[in-house]
Amino acid sequence: MSMESTQQVKGWRGWLGQRFPIDVKVYEELAKEPVPKHMERWWFALGGTPLLLFVIQGVTGILLTWYYVPRPEFAYESVTRISNELPFGWWVRGIHQWGSQLMIIAVILHMLRTFTTGAYRKPRELNWLVGTGLLVVTLTFAFTGYALVNDQLSYWATTVGTNMFAEIPVVGPIMLQMIRGGVAVTADTMTRLYPLHIGALPTAIAALIALHVVLIRFLGVTDLDARERERLARLGKSATVKGNGKVESSHFPFFPDHVMTELVIGMAVLIILVNLTILFPPTLGPKADPANTPLHIKPEWYFYPVFRWLKLFPLQIGLAGLGVGVLGFVFWPFIDAFVERRFGNRDINVILAFIVAVGALAFILWELFSV
């Protein structure tokens, strides 16, 4: 709709169109952009779930900031007050706590799908990088949020977690001092982690999500069927070997069809989330006591693979291995391209994903059942 035509429209649409002259039809068309048929499967519709959960985390997080006090002498008491005294406080905290865990699961599932289907390949390497950035930010959200509760386990998990920075060569000890604001986890650590959790990280994640979505819009989603056609053509086979005649790429509109699939998944996630808060409301251990180290310090379950890995090796070797793993993960699209050029192997991602997923799951279970 051009500006001229907007001026001809009567009523509130016309009024708004004159003052906010955008062509709605263009955006409607954009929303209806056709996406490949394989996107109908739920496995390919997991990208919206982290976004939905991020919105929920934002809303519940704002509600929690109304009452949370980021000082060691008040933090635990304010969390107790939120949980025990304020109307629906337990629920809002429960949604925030469980939401964070579901968000991590959602991001990992989405990445697992992207990884196993090779959707990070040219020209989408940069979007994979953005995705890994989103995972890092999500995990940092979880770590800093857990630290703010200030009960015994959260305090000591923060101490152990931040301790790892000390092992980074040369700059490690200075980084540790900067993160903690001193030698130990104190009030100065909390005043660092809190603005990070409610200011810097939300800004970073919002910017990365925007970039992620923009890149998806620019590049479109991977047409897996087209790739299948190419593969079969290279092998000199027919493009209709699947027998159902659906190999021929067909598309369907993003809106409303794909959005509806996302909505189904989103609703299911919401139901799971609310039920989790009812069945397992958030708990609170004894207040943090810097003078009293608990017998067993464990991080939250999503850090178990890293935790168990570090237990298996001397700390510096373990951290070095972890560093190599993280770098490999982040720059995987380029490694994958190299492997393909050199060895012609296009399935290494599937094998690797299987090994890492089974390994991580085994480490989680191992840590879960070990004292």
């Binding site: 005294e85 409303p256 509806m260 189904v264 009812i278 006591d289 009293n292 608990p294």
Partner: protein
């Protein structure tokens, strides 16, 4: 899945979500709000007590509302119930409800049997004030009113009730909150365990234990934990209070209300004796020492605590040797007929039971009953100043004064 079916699924899920929200609302409605009165867990009869006493004595009702009893529905009549022939039968004039005017350990035992049984065999249970009222000197110098407001305030912890139960549970578990935080507060023990003859609270304050604990006022708020929740786990305190070592559970030791179960020395009496003989309750002193070492081991290595306790053993034995000399002089004076100390041959409580009527006797009484205790107990409780200056220094000083007064007294008698 067609678009229509998806839309249908979304609608079904939305209805499910709404249903889940109603469960959230229900759970919210059932939440117990801190600060609000506890839910109506009192029986209809007890509710009459509450309604009336909220005007007449609102303090006790407020205390009860704060208690774990209120939370669990243990109301007024659960403890104050009474039978017609009970010694404390009382018909409440306001409500015509018969009540027990003073619940005894027999009533507490109905729910807290183990605690009451342990207490009944403890040294606390043996402290009935009446036993000490027979001292002739005390009857001369201490009027009944002094005994009532003095001795009995502490020694009533071993009161024997007409129903034959022993003790005053609320001596430590102050009514009507019966708060664990209050019971574990060192100041509760210090209500009685203080002063010139057994300055335990002062010794704890002087010790590293007391210093660490009191360095953070928040530690007092941590004292309300349930011992049974911490069996097999570290005690949630940075340093021990009285109960941590003497009563609370450790990783491998159950909690006890028998306060002597971990004491290897009887260090109050004129002679240091092993507790196999005194307050043994069927346990040898070695078993009791093992228990105390178990408590020490929660924070210390055997090398440290065994050496420390050994030095306490030596202090106890050293005291016996010093005191033995003083007693020998007294015996000699008795043999020479210079003066007569009734009951001097008794090992335990001779002075206390039969009094003292000559100056030398008073001096040696001090050397035992005040300073001798501080020396021994200070050595066992990490209190250096009580071991040294309030303890052994004063013991020696008393014995010097005692020796001088003994000579003067003898000279005076011979001169006659």
């Amino acid at each position: 899945m067609s678009l229509n079916i998806k839309a249908l699924v979304v609608i079904v899920l939305a209805i499910l979500l709404l249903a889940t929200f109603t469960v959230v609302a229900y759970v919210e409605g059932a939440q117990k709000r801190v600060g609000a009165p506890p839910p109506a867990v009192a029986s209809a009869e007890a509710q009459q007590c509450i309604t009336c006493h909220e005007n007449k004595s609102p303090g006790i009702v407020a205390q009860w509302r704060d208690s774990a009893h209120a939370e669990k529905g243990v109301d007024c009549l659960a403890c104050h119930k009474v039978a017609k022939d009970d010694f404390d039968y009382f018909m409440c004039p306001g409500a015509s409800i018969p009540v027990a005017s003073h619940p005894t350990p027999k009533d507490c035992k109905e729910c807290h049997e183990q605690a009451v049984v342990e207490f009944s065999r403890s040294k606390h249970a043996a402290l009935n004030a009446q036993k000490f009222a027979t001292s002739p000197d005390r009857l001369v110098f201490e009027p009944t009113i002094a005994t009532q407001h003095g001795c009995q305030q502490c020694h009533n912890i071993g009161h024997v009730w007409p129903d034959q139960s022993i003790g005053e549970c609320d001596a430590c578990h102050a009514k009507h909150t019966f708060s664990l935080q209050v019971a574990r507060n060192p100041q509760t023990c210090g209500e009685c365990h203080l002063g010139p003859d057994h300055s335990h609270i002062e010794q704890w304050v002087e010790s590293k234990h007391g210093n660490i604990f009191m360095s953070d006022p928040d530690n007092y708020k941590k004292l309300g934990y349930k011992s049974k929740d911490y069996v097999g786990k570290p005690t949630p305190l940075p340093a021990p209070t009285c109960t941590t070592c003497h009563m609370d559970a450790t990783a491998t030791l159950p909690a006890t209300h028998d306060v002597g179960e971990r004491l290897a020395w009887e260090s109050q009496s004129p002679w240091s004796t092993r507790t196999t003989e005194a307050w043994g309750n069927g346990y040898s002193w070695q078993e009791k020492r093992d228990r105390m070492e178990n408590a020490c081991s929660q924070c210390h290595t055997p090398n440290f605590y065994q050496r420390y306790l050994l030095s306490g053993d030596l202090a106890s034995l050293q005291y016996n040797e010093i005191f033995r000399e003083g007693r020998r002089w007294l015996t000699e004076m008795n043999k020479a007929g210079i003066f007569k100390t009734a009951g001097v041959k008794d090992n335990l409580g001779a002075f206390l039971a039969f009094g003292y009527d000559e100056a030398p006797e008073e001096q040696i009484y001090h050397a035992w009953h005040h300073q001798g205790r501080l020396f021994r107990q200070g050595a066992l409780m990490m209190a250096a100043d009580y071991t040294q200056w309030h303890g052994i220094w004063e013991v020696q000083r008393s014995l010097v004064v005692y020796a001088v007064s003994l000579v003067r007294f003898a000279g005076h008698r011979v001169g006659h």
